[in-house]
């Protein structure tokens, strides 16, 4: 029950965005993908979920060839956008947004749909007053919670979170991090979390992959990674994530 990318390469003209990337996602395991901006982490995630087309015979689900198709395979591998406000329809209320996949994928009757949607809202820590609001009436953190609840409503086998924290402020980042820990513990799904912030990945991921210039340059268990980062970029990331001396010490 794994999701694999094997020797996945994507180029736009002469710009090689991904070259020969291989990555395996395991069910009920969390993989962290870290890298500088523009290194191709989002492209990899989007190719694996069918947001952008991937070359044939590069993706495998349970060792079978897998064609990601946005409107059909969203319940197998699901992508969650970075900016929650842009990824939630401004025309629907939070509750309706969560009901969408429950109706379309799980074909639940209306009452059951609404009950489950309320449960999910509860789980991500939103109260009843939020359920009737539309995305632009919610704060960034609340939007991210709604987006997460919707992704959970799909019940995908693998969930890809693209920079789930970078649009949020520090306090909200911390709240969403602990929410994601809860999701990881309670839901039985494989997670791929993309981030450039090792501090949060350290709290969430079982293993960490580092990308640089369209390649995966290092992939290790989290504790091993922090103990002995090999690649130069990994070392730089670990160094900065541990660096938090106040300005007084600097001068």
């Amino acid at each position: 029950m794994t999701m694999q990318a094997r020797h996945l390469s994507i180029a736009y003209g002469s710009n090689q965005v991904l070259s020969q990337v291989s990555l395996t996602l395991h069910p009920s395991r969390t993989t962290g993908l870290v890298g500088r901006s523009g290194c191709g982490k989002s492209t990899l995630a989007k190719a694996m979920t069918g947001i952008i087309p991937a070359p044939q015979e590069t993706l495998f689900h349970n060792d079978q060839i897998f064609f990601p198709d946005l409107s059909k395979t969203g319940n197998i591998i699901h992508y969650m956008w970075q900016d929650p406000l842009a990824a939630l329809s401004p025309f629907l209320s939070a509750l309706d947004l969560i009901c969408e996949p429950l109706k379309a994928i799980h074909k639940l009757p209306k009452a059951e749909r609404q009950r489950q949607a309320r449960d999910l809202l509860n789980m991500v820590g939103l109260n009843a007053t939020c359920s009737v609001k539309r995305p632009h009436q919610l704060s960034g953190g609340q939007c991210q919670r709604v987006a997460l609840a919707r992704a959970l409503a799909v019940k995908p086998r693998f969930l890809v979170l693209d920079e789930p924290l970078s649009a949020l402020d520090l306090v909200t980042q911390e709240q969403i991090t602990s929410l994601l820990r809860k999701v990881r513990a309670e839901m039985n799904m494989g997670l791929l979390i993309i981030s450039h912030d090792l501090q949060t990945l350290a709290k969430l991921a079982d293993d960490i992959a580092v990308m640089d210039g369209g390649r995966i340059v290092e992939h290790k268990e989290t504790h091993e990674f922090f103990a002995a980062p090999e690649h130069q970029l990994s070392r730089r990331f670990v160094e900065i994530s541990k660096y938090s001396a106040p300005a007084a010490a600097l001068n």
Binding site: L170, Q173, I240, A247
Partner: protein, 261 residues
């Protein structure tokens, strides 16, 4: 002799005239002294960016500063005629905004834009070029950037071009409004280092606006905390945070500690 602070914000209230003058920022007062590095933190939507826009005079129309004063070297910026404000902009107060992409002209090379800045200080020819190269070196940008257009540069590089501008202008007050939002941690680190260099070289007072106490700690010595449009707390970052601090401060420091490795 009692020194007059560079910037005195007194009782600043910003309201939205489109929505019953509902105040978005209320009664904010603080001083910024020469050579001080002051952080302004708070959750998103707490009004820190608005305060910053009010100081630079960039508030957009239904929003306006409805009361209070912002004194720069003793003169009230809010009551000042347009021409005089124009004098202060750039060399007096310089602001590095959240999105460097929209702060640079897309169809002029970096060199043209920096030379334009230098011309404001009546620097021409060789002298201007020299100042440019020095500024670029200080923020560790390659010389190659001069001939490029903004779209060829990454977010971090654009932000460093803005800092090079600050180096050329040597403003009395440098305002940085979330300068590292959207940058990855390594770029963020480099940008902050460049900002440190700029501050040390120009001797400007720095007002650093951010939601992230982790990076504010790297640049500032003291910090103001905003919550729901009001200034609720002021902390010295050299001291441990007092246990009797405001709820908002506790929330932010708590979040930082829990996220730290």
């Amino acid at each position: 002799m009692v020194e007059i602070p560079l910037l005195q914000v007194h009782n600043l209230t910003i309201s939205n005239s489109a929505q019953n003058n509902e105040p978005l920022v209320e009664g904010v007062s603080f001083d910024l002294a020469v050579n001080q590095r002051l952080g302004l933190i708070g959750k998103s939507g707490c009004g820190k960016s608005l305060t910053c826009h009010a100081i630079t005079g960039a508030l957009r129309a239904p929003l306006a500063a409805s009361s209070g004063s912002i004194r720069f070297q003793g003169n009230d910026l809010l009551a000042m005629p347009f021409a005089e404000k124009q004098q202060i902009r750039g060399t007096g107060i310089f602001c590095i905004f959240q999105s460097p992409g929209s702060a640079l002209h897309p169809s002029l090379t970096i060199e043209t834009q920096l030379l334009e800045t230098a011309r404001n200080l009546s620097l021409h020819g060789q002298a201007a070029h020299h100042a440019l190269l020095q500024a670029l070196e200080a923020v560790s940008l390659p010389k190659l950037c001069l001939k490029q257009y903004p779209n060829a540069l990454s977010g971090g590089m654009k932000q460093r071009v803005m800092m090079a501008m600050a180096l050329i202008l040597k403003p009395t007050i440098l305002i940085a409004d979330e300068p590292t939002t959207g940058l990855d941690v390594i770029t963020e680190h480099e940008t902050l280092e460049a900002l440190n260099v700029v501050q040390q070289e120009t001797g400007s007072a720095l007002l650093f606006v951010s939601h992230d106490l982790r990076i504010v700690r790297q640049t500032c010595t003291s910090v103001l905390v905003m919550d729901a449009g009001q200034l609720v707390d002021a902390c010295d970052l050299n001291q441990p945070i007092a246990p009797d601090c405001h709820r908002a401060t506790a929330e932010i420091t708590g979040a930082m500690e829990r996220l730290q490795l």
